[in-house]
Amino acid sequence: MVDLTQKFDVLVIGGGNAALCAAIGARRAGASVLVLEGAPKFYRGGNTRHTRNMRCAHDAATDILTGPYTEDEFWDDLLRLTGGQTDEELAKFMIAESKDILNWIVEQGVRWQPSLGGTLSLGRTNSFFLGGGRAMLNALYLTAEKLGVEIVYDAEVTDLQIEDGMFLSATLKQPIDGASEIRASALVAAAGGFEANIEWLKEYWGEAADNFLIRGTPYNRGSILKMLLDKGVQDIGDPTQCHAVAIDARAPKFDGGIITRHDSVVFGIVVNKHAQRFYDEGEDIWPKRYAIWGRLVAAQPDQIAHIIFDSTVVTSFMPTLFPPIAGATLAELAGKLGLEPAALENTVADFNAAVRPGTFDHTILDDCRTEGLTPPKTHWARKIETPPYLAYPVRPGITFTYLGTRVNRQSRIVMKDGKPSANMFAAGEIMAGNVLGKGYAAGIGMTIGSVFGRVAGREAAKNARN
């Protein structure tokens, strides 16, 4: 039994990749460490459970990576995808550290495998976790436990005592073994963003947020983030922005994970509840465009849309969790989707009439396009005319939010007055906005978590022992 009345060297709040890397880093540096995970044991680890890979720089191919991915190339990618909204010093620091993380994380029991089937485009840049994110987490937890890190589940924190940027203690919602106030010499906040907090999302999105589906854990409510920002911590990142993709409308409200996604947009057309198209489905190759569709659908009435295609393309994309809805005619399909049959027939007829002949190739920006149609479909446009007609209903699926706490290179929290906190650190999604002002590329969230988690743990241990 853990004695929670003792004062720990390092308290880690959160239980995902960043939290565990911090806990292990601090423990290996000699500190006594307590991890408070707000979720029950099965749901431990926040969104890490749903991840599958990490993007790390490396100068040469490895057993599982097909070629080099230099620091410069990583930096170029980051600069491009964030449109420059990144802290260059922190970002370059992270990229440099990521090289070592590739090996360090293996020393913590995590195992790599080559990129999964259907993800060839990531084979050079991203290392995949054998068994996925939960397997990765399980390995980190086993290592942390072996090292003597104390871990408590169902341990929701409702308040933080902070004086002049100095963490004193955390208050538990329910006392555990008689302790309700947890004291520690240093704090690592690694409790994620607020994407599962619909009320908070509504502050920026209004009632539309009621129709959002949350792809990850229902426990990412941002309560620790909010407490820190309310107690003088400097914020970073656009509070109104979140990473959103179009996922199946039949997915559960929370925790549907990666399997509710759809990769079929480029093979058909996308219509809203009035059966009208609203964006160029063939603008660019799918890995570069999937992340805009969440926001596009969020902007449509009732936040619903339908990917419409025909029987000729059903095997062109990954098999889906939910089967497509089918109709022998467009009118029958429209009926099943709750669309006006005539409107859908017109939209498809207009689209088919605008399709120009070309040579279809989904791996390149091919010459199959529409002419005289608004909005156009600029690539991979082929007539939808072979029944059965098929559809996937989609809604915005929120992955994560960008608002976070400002940190420095020690992963140390920076206060509103610009001074570094005496003993508070942050790692993972809660501070991702420092590096990732907007945009996303596969595996960067995990890089941020592991790199800044390890740094935060090490620095917190150093801090506590001084």
Partner: protein, 371 residues
């Protein structure tokens, strides 16, 4: 819709897993799944028999219970696998009774045969049964060699025929043509994969048993059991050759090949089954098909008893206990043989066939990519 409810559930799970694929590095089941978009009964039976039940995909799955997607691949495939054994069994009528009362049937069969031999010998000549016999041919005082060979040859032959019929049914069900040309490379690959239990390692760390800490104990005990069995079988074969080719009669001296092989095998076959039973006892109930507990246990217990009676016979063969022990040992071995086609033993046969099929598919895929 499939033929059975468990296949419906297996289909649902494979649809979930095929849209995720995080587990593809753990074993052969998921790469085989990825080669398909839809699953026939035969496909699901193939995947079920390919699964070694290491449990890694359950522990690693973000959608396992209590998640609402309720993904439990090891248990679902275990149930589907057991049902497939029943479906392929020949004659089919024997499988159901055995699945329910495996241990009782095995023991009753063993004791009946032992009693029969015992009684037969006792009627014949009490002195023979309880006397002390040593030297070549000692065993055959109890039962003439030819009678023994005929009885066990028949039991063995029956087991072989029934197993071949079962494999034929399996091979047909999973959609492979019977009598196709042998793919030697695939066969060798499958022998390697089965021989080292490649897919009972949780993707490298060991399999999951009582909790989320991987160990390699089940693999170790299975190796002891399997190779113990193989050595005992080899011992019997060598002894048969000695008898017919060299006219050397059992019992043999402790240093002679049949005894050395049998002793080494016997030791494996004592430790292995005890270990497997202990692991089975500890195993997280969420991972197993509880309804087939009897069938699983029957086979393990019978292997253990085969070795126990055989070792006892070796130790006490120069005393008056030899006669009764020989009768008991022969009874157990006889029962082991005739129940083989209906019990857990078949898991090895169907899994091996599934591994051959997997190796063939992998090779076909690799060739397809190269072209």
């Amino acid at each position: 819709m499939h033929g059975t409810r468990i296949l419906d559930e297996a289909d649902r799970l494979m649809t979930v897993c095929n849209s995720c694929r995080y587990c593809e590095g753990l074993c052969a089941v998921f790469p085989a799944m990825e080669m398909r978009r839809a699953f026939s009964d035969g496909d699901l039976n193939y995947l079920a028999n390919l699964c070694h039940s290491c449990g890694a995909c359950y522990t690693d799955c973000q959608f396992s219970p209590p998640h609402e997607f309720n993904v439990n691949v090891p248990r679902t495939l275990a149930v589907a696998r057991a049902e497939s054994y029943a479906a392929y069994a020949w004659p089919r009528a024997f499988s159901g009774a055995f699945a329910r009362n495996g241990l009782v049937i095995s023991l009753v069969a063993a004791l009946s045969v032992a009693a029969f031999i015992f009684g037969f010998a006792a009627l014949h000549d009490r002195q023979v049964l309880l006397g002390v016999h040593t030297g070549p041919g000692a065993f055959y005082k109890l039962m003439p060699h030819n009678a023994m060979a005929a009885l066990f040859g028949a039991a063995f032959l029956y087991a072989i025929v029934a197993l071949v019929m079962g494999v034929r049914a399996f091979w047909r069900d999973i959609g492979e043509p019977v009598g196709m040309r042998t793919d030697m490379a695939a066969l060798l690959q499958a022998i390697r994969d089965a021989g080292e239990l490649r897919y009972l390692d949780g993707g490298g760390v060991g399999c999951f048993n009582e909790d989320d800490r991987p160990t390699d104990r089940r693999r170790l005990y299975h190796h002891l059991t399997f190779y113990g069995f193989a050595l005992c079988f080899a011992s019997t074969c060598v002894a048969t050759l000695y008898h017919y080719l060299l006219a050397r009669e059992a019992p043999y001296a402790w240093w002679d090949l049949p005894v050395v092989l049998g002793t080494l095998g016997g030791i494996g076959l004592l430790i292995g089954p005890i270990g497997l039973l202990a692991e089975r006892w500890k195993r997280d109930p969420v991972l197993v098909d509880e309804a087939r507990y009897g069938m699983d246990v029957a086979f393990i217990v019978m292997l253990f008893l085969t070795s126990l009676t055989g070792m006892a016979l070796l130790m006490l063969r120069e005393t008056a206990a030899m006669g009764p022990l020989l009768a008991l040992h022969l009874g157990v071995v006889f029962s082991l043989f005739v129940t083989m086609p209906y019990g857990k033993f078949v898991h090895g046969i169907y899994r091996f066939a599934a591994l051959v099929r997997y190796a063939m598919e992998r090779r076909a895929m690799a060739q397809g990519t190269a072209e």
